[in-house]
Subunit: 676 residues, 3 copies
């Protein structure tokens, strides 16, 4: 049974897996023969296979053919390479949908999806679930005792590209989900506020999945439950498979590769797995200079769900499809991105993909090798990385990333609730990225943590604008502050109850007492240029954007900043209350870039937050992974220029084996790991 | 029987109703108990109720439950508050559409709408019409003798959000409408020009509603008839209800709350009602400085349809849904917007809504009270307004708004005809708003009047670019000019016949004689920066945009301006002809901002137009409502700064009771009403 | 049997047809009576008729009525005007689709198109094909011996507005096409790379037309085959008609009016016709100054498909529909555009349309005459043109346009392949237009030629970025270079095989040997501003955009330019290899404006390319049409200012009859044709 998900949880691997997704079904016999030694030379010890090979594994209904993969696994095994298999259910074979078109998903207009890309089948179709269980059972039983098969990936990138489904199967399943959640239709009517617009249901069977603009705005409580249902449904679908795999071979490591929307990667979905997988493609950020920062956020968020992870797909070349194609990574970037993933929580890593495929929709998702199979600089870089990981990888297992400042993240319900009624405001994820980015640039040991997770050691914890807020989170946050932490709560937090309805009390609702404040007035700033609202903090004015609140501090709550503009002038804007050894700040404004820049020093002052390793030049990030008795300091040069670090911690630099401690030169995109 | 619609018609109220839409079904017993006294304290004398309560009134088909509203009406009545009920047909209960999905509307792709928002049923479904009549009859009969029920609103915001429907019911109804309109299919073929693209129909049963891009451009005559059908259909649906209500209790006042597209609020729809309702939300204009101007236009246009109106929903807080949320009104703005509505034609006014709902799609349509039910500044403002209306409201009944300059407006067929073939040009409504806005800023007593309406007293009347033009309007316009008016006709006017086909004569067609001109050449200006076209007026050049025409003046017609650019150089651009005591101008260009700025002084000079009350500072608007023996001068400060008016009319200022006549200071957003 | 298509092929006309599409069914008897003499006065000798008149020709199924057109043809014939008839199948009558809705096309969502615009029927419906054959047979037989009927246009603008169809007929036909193309499903599986995403088909009957986003990216090989199928299907539909017409009267000239996407106008489609028709509307380019250049490209591309052409629709006034309306042509522009069409390959020309229609979706597609039927300046211009063509037109027949520099164009498969996987890069057509435009401005005799067409006389030939590349084209290109030509191959060329899969060798694949180069690395430049890549050519640096490649020259290949930026510094960017008497250049970058400006002089230097007639001022273009014994030099002033040409060729200027040779003044939009 895997440990409970937490951002601190290490992955349950006994070795650092390094390699690539591999699709032998795309290659001819000569290529398949030549690949394993070339992999082994690059330090590869694992591949992922059979991800989209259902057509090969079960070419005709009920006839299973495993010989091709038996051979491939065996051939790789001979070169010391283990295999993670995939349940191939993301790409159902044509015979399945040809015979059973009722298994196809349906968009909001009722148009069925079709064979010709992938992920066309509905997870709520009982029939498709049955086919899924059959192929998984057959594969599991066949590969049960295979010494080179070490684990499984479930399906592929659940809810990527297309999350919703409105097919008849989903109508039934949605009602099943609602019955389970609300028990009686009367409770559902109350929970959803169906008195509004005469939406009262007589019975669960009358409920439909919500479809936007049919003809107008949908019920936000219904819509949030629908998004919860998506998570519930995909979790149930995955559980079918996990149950079979665990029964057949309890030693297998099972993960899924994500992370996409509408799935609760902290809840039942993650608890069913040994470890989460995070497909990391930093080049979706088109700005090369911003990529180190955005990659760091992506990784910290990934870790925030349930701890260290495997990267089943790490960008190893440009990716592209249809109308986009990433930049080609410059020399050093692929390796730097991989090390960045490891520094921030990857306990195993596969570079997507071994070789670029010559056909299909992903011709331009480039792998380690190009279409022409000539090993070039990307291969050489991977080879260097493979060599390094042979020496260093295992040692990192069992460590956690050290975090001193965190931003609240990793709650799908909170994000979904915002998306339904976003009022044109940046979402809590976007705002968290702004705050994370500012802390990242400042050199703090920043991370993403869910409010219900373990906050020990965190000096400053920021909850951006979580309208949806669960009452159970209040006491842990109080305890966090009481123990000396600085808790920062942003405007609009806790304004919605868990059904996504508005609370009946002044905001911040359940956090009112802890924050020592009540919101008196709030407003959207649609044209902040026309009616600018400034607040004064530490004698300096800062313009705000998006949202303002005027605050009524309770007795004992201090006012840190006041509004200075228009009719708000003189009203409290930011307040602070002591809770035990710590402090609770409430910020009655939206976190825009300018405001964050002004608040970050304040938070640091109040919490004693310091850069993780002071004196590091701009462009170099520092991360630390700890385990009892050892600390691993990663210094990563995210720039294309050389950087000099005046002094690094005294210890051994693991990649070079050199003794570190004094000045250290980092060439472009270079990494150093000092063990202390 | 109500008086015929005209912009001058006062509403048939015997008292000024003031209050709010109220949804007791959203609140618990304690809240429902506490509301009436709080309302009464704010001067409320009316609420609107049961707008979306069909599920409560008829929870099971045929079982009516009126007790809840009996109680609510009674409780309010005890505090002197009357009730306007609503026919609740905008939100059909789930049992209706679950049993009868064939009543659902269908979009242009044939996708049925669904339960989960509102307005999902088709007005042309005979079955839905029958259900509508049943619930209305049941309610009408139950509340027939109730002393506190003073009137009704039909449905809610017809054709808001989604106007079209292409369901099978609509196919049938469209043919019924066409039969009624064209009598024979041969006449329909001719009227629609079906010789083009072989569109000839054999029989009415072959005609379909036009759906864009299926696969390409639709027939503009067919499309205009389809839009006319939408108006016809909704009018018929409403008539079902009005007929029942009038039969049960002829004393009830009946209105509808609009105003949305594709409905002819001058024709049968309005004649069925006692008075139109106009839901006024000025904050849809995101620019706070432009809002006084855009609100004024909205109100003048509303009044232009059929005279003074009730505002069943006046913005009392920010409104929002999905991805937008208005600004929070600043102190004084809610009251100022309400007084502006009254100054420009509201004879009763309800502030939307009593309290902000905590669930449903309109959580962020804020009411007088916030979610937490704490009376704050918006309540205080409303209370002040309520007190003022108790003193002043009744006196304003029976007055009309005084207009000296008007722009043609309020013809749905003209607007729909333009929308089908707009050629990328601003619509007649948009252009009218430009002209209205310029006149508003200049302080003229500006309004919106339909060409077939009463133009007495109007000094200058502008028809922007009404391609569709009815021949019956020519004689009244001639008479208007003959009596001394200045008539201005814009380019492209009268180029389409009433079927939306192009005329066979030189334009302006039926207006050619009256304007004394024929258009020789016209052209679209797609890149006015590349080939700028200027005309010279009074010795000064002005650049035009959008559209040009070269004119051939008839004998006796003067040339006021000539083109000076490119191949047009020397050609007449603006001409003027005398008709009796007045003048008719034809402007061979599109009314862009720059051209309007140059034309307005010319029009004023020719017509003797003066600001309604000269010497008023910028940002203050003046409106006058008149009745025999009394004039009410409204001075409204639309700015957030103090404004000094050098001199106001001598009389009593009604809000303060002070004697007016000399200087008057208007604080930000303040209003003064001088009776003379 | 018509000659094989080639850019050099003259049209098979024995006289220069000049006139207009004419729709007598839109006009009353008096108008129909008055039209022929007015046409004759303008020099008209041909009209096109019956294009959308199926409803008139077969008002009831099986009842044919030809009298109306008999009369019209006869009336025109009496004034010396011949008629091209149209098969009226682009606008099926209502009785057809009312009785047989299964003939309607279907969009990607499965929504059927409908009666009410045009082109609503599916070309793959066997039933619709049968109806099409019946009406064509009936018309052909009726008009078989008519002396004034000289030829036919098939249908109208195939695949305009809406190209795809996904109806059940198309599913069947697509499978038929695939069976014909791939023979066995195993071969199809290999050709499409169906091993990717488990897309393997068991049988042809399981294949579907590809629909985007159902739910995600489609297979690029399947998609290309689908686009090929569109061409195949429309060609088959047209062939049904051509076969009938040729059998009935082999002397008729048959053309189609295009040119729209997804049709191979070089292949079977064109070979079935005597000549292609190209509908030329230069005013779709909104920039008046760029129009001469963009019109020239459109015409050269049109000629590139299969030689000289007829223009069945030449813009004679502004065109518009729905939300757009072209500029009004200024005096001289209509005639200049017509002469430009003739200079660049039109062997006959009809001005769209005789008179502007007053009803239907194209009210604003203006013709020679306005809605009011008053002959104005556009008529006068056409009349002048008609007079000139009477003298000059016939003489131009049999000539070809002289080309010295050409850009590869006119391969629908290449363009479709790019569109499916465009990676956000400008398509080969767009890039060709850039190169063509630069050569046009430089005064070169530029044209568009397919690589498999006749390249004799061409000094420099550029293949922009043709990822899809057929191996059969290599040898002709080698021979072209060997004979002294300069061949320029752009980046990405020949990277896809004919199935649209990626090649397995280094690029440029089949061109590698001819170019003497292999591409080592490539990359997309998404933010060229952030990481600018420059190359150095002739000692000067030029910034590139879009795409870069580093090149490995083979022995004997020279490096002309090297990269100077970032990690590419020093790598070859442009190489050159001698092949016989000529040269082959490979350019490892995308052709952006800046790079083209730098390359054009290099290409000219290497190939000896000179302006066709040196010393011509900016804004004047020169074209030459040749036949044995005569050369016709067209000088066209594309500007609105007067232009002086220092010296023209010695000969007769045909429009004035003057002796030319010395200075020549071209007034705005004026044309001179010197015969030498």
């Amino acid at each position: 049974m895997p440990a409970l998900p937490s951002h601190r949880r290490p992955a349950p691997f006994d070795r650092f897996w390094f390699g690539a997704p591999y699709y032998p079904e795309h290659w001819n016999a000569a290529e398949r023969e030549a690949d394993p030694p070339l992999m082994a030379a690059a330090g590869v010890n694992a591949v992922r296979m059979a991800e989209f090979a259902w057509d090969l594994l079960e070419p005709v209904e009920g006839r299973y053919e495993f010989g091709f993969f038996d051979e491939a696994i065996e051939r790789l095994g001979r070169h010391g390479i283990s295999t993670f298999l995939c349940t191939p259910t993301a790409a159902p074979p044509r015979w399945l949908t040809a015979e059973h078109p009722e298994t196809l998903r349906m968009n909001a207009d009722g148009v069925p999806l079709q064979h010709g890309s992938r992920q066309q089948c509905c997870h709520q179709s009982e029939l498709f679930r049955e086919y899924s269980r059959r192929i998984v059972r057959a594969m599991a039983e066949h590969f049960a005792g295979h010494p080179h098969v070490v684990g499984w990936q479930t399906d592929n990138e659940f809810l990527c590209h297309f999350a919703e489904c409105h097919c008849p199967n989903c109508q039934q399943a949605f009602r099943e989900f609602l019955r389970e959640r609300h028990r009686t239709v009367e409770r559902l009517n109350r929970a959803w506020g169906n008195a509004f617009w005469a939406q009262t249901y007589r019975r669960f069977d009358d409920v439909l999945t919500p479809r936007p603009h049919k003809p107008t705005w949908t019920n936000p409580a219904q819509h949030l439950d629908y998004f919860r249902f998506l998570s519930w449904g995909v979790t149930r679908f995955q559980h079918d498979q996990v149950e079979i795999l665990r029964r057949v071979n309890p030693k297998w490591t099972i993960f899924h590769n994500g992370l996409f929307g509408h799935i609760d990667y902290r809840g039942a979905f993650a608890r069913d797995l040994d470890v989460l997988g995070y497909d990391n493609y930093p080049f979706f950020d088109p700005d090369p200079e911003r990529r180190p920062r955005s990659q760091a956020f992506g990784l910290d968020r990934a870790r925030g769900w349930s701890g260290n992870f495997i990267v089943p797909e790490q960008q190893s070349g440009p990716g592209g499809q249809g109308s986009y194609f990433h930049d080609q990574p410059e020399p050093g970037e692929v390796r730097r991105m991989a090390w960045t993933s490891i520094a921030r929580g990857a306990d195993s890593l596969l570079l997507f993909r071994w070789r670029t495929c010559r056909f299909g929709a992903e011709i331009y998702w480039c792998g380690i090798l190009d279409h022409d199979n000539v090993p070039r600089r990307r291969y050489e870089e991977v080879k260097r990385l493979g060599g390094e990981l042979k020496r260093v990888g295992g040692e990192l297992l069992g460590t956690s990333v050290h975090v001193e400042m965190a931003v609240a993240q990793c709650d799908q319900e909170v994000f979904d609730a915002h998306s339904i009624l976003n009022l044109g405001l940046a979402g809590p994820g976007q705002v968290a990225e702004r705050i994370h980015g500012a802390a990242f640039e400042a050199g703090y040991a920043v991370g993403c943590i869910h409010p219900a997770d373990d906050l020990r050691g965190v000096k400053c914890y920021v909850i951006p604008h979580w309208a949806l807020f669960h009452p159970d989170w209040v006491e842990p946050l109080r305890a966090y502050a009481a123990a000396g932490g600085v808790l920062v709560v942003g405007a609009r937090t806790a304004t919605h109850d868990w059904n996504n309805n508005h609370i009946a009390e002044p905001s911040p609702g359940v956090l009112r007492e802890l924050c020592g404040v009540a919101v008196a007035e709030y407003g959207r700033q649609n044209r902040p240029d026309r009616r600018t609202l400034e607040l004064e903090l530490d004698g300096q004015r800062v313009a705000t954007e998006g949202w303002y609140e005027t605050l009524e501090p309770a007795a004992g709550t201090d006012v840190l900043a006041r509004w200075t503009s228009r009719h708000l002038a003189g009203q409290p804007a930011i307040v602070c209350r002591s809770e035990g050894a710590g402090k609770v700040l409430y910020v009655g404004a939206y976190f825009g870039e300018a405001l964050i820049a002004r608040l970050l020093p304040l938070w640091a002052r109040l919490s004693g937050l310091q850069p993780l390793w002071p004196g590091v030049p701009s462009g170099v990030s520092v991360v630390r992974r700890d385990k009892p008795g050892a600390q691993y300091w990663f210094f990563i040069n995210g720039t294309d220029g050389e950087r000099r670090i005046e002094k690094v911690p005294a210890g051994t630099e693991l990649l070079t084996g050199a003794h570190a401690g004094a000045d250290w030169i980092l060439p472009p995109h270079e990494v150093a790991i000092v063990k202390t």
